[in-house]
Symmetry: D2
Subunit: 340 residues, 4 copies
Amino acid sequence: MYSFKNDYSEGAHPRILGALMESNMEQLEGYGEDKYTVKAVELLKKKCGRDNIDVHLLPGGTQTNLTAISAFLRPHEAVIAANTGHILVHETGAIEATGHKIISIKVNDGKLRSEHVRAALDEHTDEHMVKPKLVYISNPTEIGSIYTKHELEQLSKFCRSNGLLLYVDGARLGSALTSEENDMKLSDIAENVDAFYIGGTKNGALMGEALIICKECLKEDFRFHIKQKGALLAKGRILGIQFLELFKDNLYFDLARHSNDMAKILKEGLCEAGYSLLTHSPSNQIFPVLPNEVIEKLEEKYMFYIWQKVDEDNSAIRLVTSWATKEEQVLEFIQELKRI
Amino acid sequence: MYSFKNDYSEGAHPRILGALMESNMEQLEGYGEDKYTVKAVELLKKKCGRDNIDVHLLPGGTQTNLTAISAFLRPHEAVIAANTGHILVHETGAIEATGHKIISIKVNDGKLRSEHVRAALDEHTDEHMVKPKLVYISNPTEIGSIYTKHELEQLSKFCRSNGLLLYVDGARLGSALTSEENDMKLSDIAENVDAFYIGGTKNGALMGEALIICKECLKEDFRFHIKQKGALLAKGRILGIQFLELFKDNLYFDLARHSNDMAKILKEGLCEAGYSLLTHSPSNQIFPVLPNEVIEKLEEKYMFYIWQKVDEDNSAIRLVTSWATKEEQVLEFIQELKRI
Amino acid sequence: MYSFKNDYSEGAHPRILGALMESNMEQLEGYGEDKYTVKAVELLKKKCGRDNIDVHLLPGGTQTNLTAISAFLRPHEAVIAANTGHILVHETGAIEATGHKIISIKVNDGKLRSEHVRAALDEHTDEHMVKPKLVYISNPTEIGSIYTKHELEQLSKFCRSNGLLLYVDGARLGSALTSEENDMKLSDIAENVDAFYIGGTKNGALMGEALIICKECLKEDFRFHIKQKGALLAKGRILGIQFLELFKDNLYFDLARHSNDMAKILKEGLCEAGYSLLTHSPSNQIFPVLPNEVIEKLEEKYMFYIWQKVDEDNSAIRLVTSWATKEEQVLEFIQELKRI
Amino acid sequence: MYSFKNDYSEGAHPRILGALMESNMEQLEGYGEDKYTVKAVELLKKKCGRDNIDVHLLPGGTQTNLTAISAFLRPHEAVIAANTGHILVHETGAIEATGHKIISIKVNDGKLRSEHVRAALDEHTDEHMVKPKLVYISNPTEIGSIYTKHELEQLSKFCRSNGLLLYVDGARLGSALTSEENDMKLSDIAENVDAFYIGGTKNGALMGEALIICKECLKEDFRFHIKQKGALLAKGRILGIQFLELFKDNLYFDLARHSNDMAKILKEGLCEAGYSLLTHSPSNQIFPVLPNEVIEKLEEKYMFYIWQKVDEDNSAIRLVTSWATKEEQVLEFIQELKRI
């Protein structure tokens, strides 16, 4: 059975394992103070086009979200997120466990816009309600859509003029930034948001996310929060070595582009076979709508999630491609689909 | 400069990297539901000599402590720990950040005994004070001492008859269990405590700790807590593969024994050179007391922590050996010491 | 200006002040262990028709909700509430501040039913999501509707067969139980729910809510939680004396009935004047829909909240009556309305 | 049996009940926005000799401590307190429940001095430990001692030059400020600390504490925190009316002075009878050391706490006087003591 369930089904890109291997017996400082992490941090600053940002490497996405958000907010401050937001449903209440409410905003395409945020602000008028403070978005979103530069700029402008922080969950940021519909670079993200993370786990690393803190007042004492939340690895080198390898040339973006390319082939095949997609997704997660009996047949040979029921006879499934997805498997999947 | 600063200065034991390499391109389930993790869990149960225990693999020690302790306690319940306890001082208030007080007990040798715990119980008499509920010990302790089977049994008996949970931080459990003064096996730990963890990070793994939950009522829903605290790695395989490699034969214990052996050579050398030790330590951390000028000289060639001032002229340093410590380096250190 | 803004605009019912006065110079035990509190607790048990319940007196509603809910839940467990639920929006994230998510369910009449709860359960399937555990309802609801006995029994049955706790916020429980549409007694509430509170603040007390814990396993150590959350008044007598006075005869219900009667006169007057109500409310909060210019005129003489915009020209306002509302003021209001 | 157990055995000073009575049927704004609270706040500012402070009225001491401290600190920041500090032992871990560690410092006379704080700072050197941020002191302390102006100034100076906040728990501040050894006024406190509270519960109010926030950056959004922690009473008037009555002339200080006077008579009587005191206490709590058989005899007629064992035959007891303590009872106690 070949799996399109997610983009973390394989281990790490071979170059990453190679880098871990090569440096393995060197004695290095612990807790992310080793030379590889220092270099990775410098490199990431350069890639973001700015020197006045702080970079921290953490093991996973939920942990990055909860560590950052709880560090940034005072107890009465809340997060605003789209109803599809990962932190809202799929992180076991990790943000609430640190004491903060998430205000859910219903959107259709996974993307928050300033009018959504304004509506939330308008509803929170006094001290009997939480104070909305941080706007959480994902790029790409959980349903595969991506933000344009214009959209991000508009949202950023609104947040800044309303005293709100803007935070981007970039678990699959590579896929967004290498999408053919994308018009942003890392430096555009860094310029427009207060903090964001560049996901490694879903783009070829064993694990690891690079949190970028852009806003000055959010930087202070951040390592205390990493340690307190259990995210400061003794062998922090593991994260530094991986991010160094991913960014020292363009490996990170090459891997992401490959996953997008594979998704594109899938989309084209689905289209040719006459099927539609539930959402417009120019990234590495796609949501084809298929007849239930077709899905059942496919399940004999492939692994994937059934996303949602569309009507009595049809459901949307989620297909995720990755740096490790093989083109022949993608082509075979399409043939199989057409055969059915 | 050679480092005796800690036991996580190198990467992972080569066999571990090898195992990661070998399985790297296999597509596996995420979140610790892969076949390697399943096997590792089964193996660890066997090694603990019991089937009715739950095993969870988490990335690091602080995270294991905070996830377990916050899952086990109700909001008003507190932890009792020795004043040297790692959670008390060196985890940035991680336990308090989950809402629980730690009651500190002053002890001389790092070990909690039933009389210490009783004293804490006697002082907490009503609802104006927290309710002591979980006794936290480390084996070996933070100053290198280890518990005998009799000591653990006594403490366990006291805890059970007083409605207290007993939890062992086993960040260096391998070193304790392979110490020449040790008279316990993994199964003795499992029999006498309610939960404990077997540390991987400090004994040859890239990272990873195996939490063993022995008490039935503590098991329910534990994976929710792992996820909520950010400790559920998408590529949980990394932990499973490592623990499988460490325990499929006796690698885990072999590595720990080596670190103890290296510490023993150091101790003997220090003794021959006429120096005393601050604490009785039969494990892989030793605390020699040296004249300050000797320390300064040693610092030119070696890295280690200065542990505490002993008097005007002397201080105790901490030397840590590990699975990766080379015998020739140890011998050279002693020669250097004698030369000075 | 006469106020229909809420039911806590005046101080306490004179009999309550009298009782405080009379006992004032007696020396009594602190922290709710005085004889008046003991008697009030016994009396409340009797009124609930059960001996196997625990009764605790706390200063306010938000504090009762947060103390109870955080005591009842483990860290990964969540609350299910109607979108109108007081804890969801109007308590500044008090529940989330104790670490728990509230799952919001959209309902039309303020009332949760088993199908709503089932839908929430169906959406929470594994450890990547919180575990729904406590169903929070208000009676009357925040929009004035009340539960029938049958509705409560159905919900109770569903909760019990699904391992869920059922909790009733009874900030205005007196109004619900003396409504002409009500078919329940205190004992029916006590029988069908796991915990609930009888509100004093909004029914004639200076402040104070009586929390009733019915489910055995929720009772243990509850006073620790009261103290930890700052709700254990040194002069707990204040609460005991008030609840004793309210329940020693039927004062509590008499006051509530009066507030309902005043609301009824208002409703009839509004109806006669040709206006409709936004919600069906047989309790002491009513929500008439009025033309905006009428509202503006009324605002010159009366205080009340504008609840929501209905269309370009009309809005719903909230009128709240209380134990202290004077019939002549109600009649005058109606005359004023008709005059306009 | 007459009670010297504490200073909250009686209800409220009659003038306070009178004021509640008089204003009882007025319709007032809720949540502390009524005219009485507004006046009380203005009055307290005047009494503190400063206009640029914020004043909030909260129901109780534990709640004031937890609300203020959790609002002032970021998640990794900790409190420094004397080992006798009320928050450390007698508030059921309320501060830890909001996520913050309390660093305990052993002192002999209940008072923290800059050298103690410096020692705590010296031990907390990096992100593996909490960051000490707020120094908590009580005046008078829990063992009856009081701070001199010089001591407070020194501590204040140290805190300010080390980026620490200074907070005073003034549960019995009236007793400190009217002690014959006191050389401070309210304005001296306000000048030297960042926040403090003026206790009402233990000095004649039904309940209520006035929190004064002096430091500008701590003021923002404080009412959100009061609401979130359940401390915003719907009938906030109760607190405003009481503090207005206590401070509109010198009632607050008169009551406190009376309690000190009663304690002084007790001390003199004890001295004459040949007994010593455990601590030097110029305030309304004293700790005489008495033979155990004398204590047993006294217990037949009086209520008080046995504070601690001194040796085999002697123990210290705690005697607390209050605004309501009657001189004849004090004299009778001494006679009784001499008779024994």
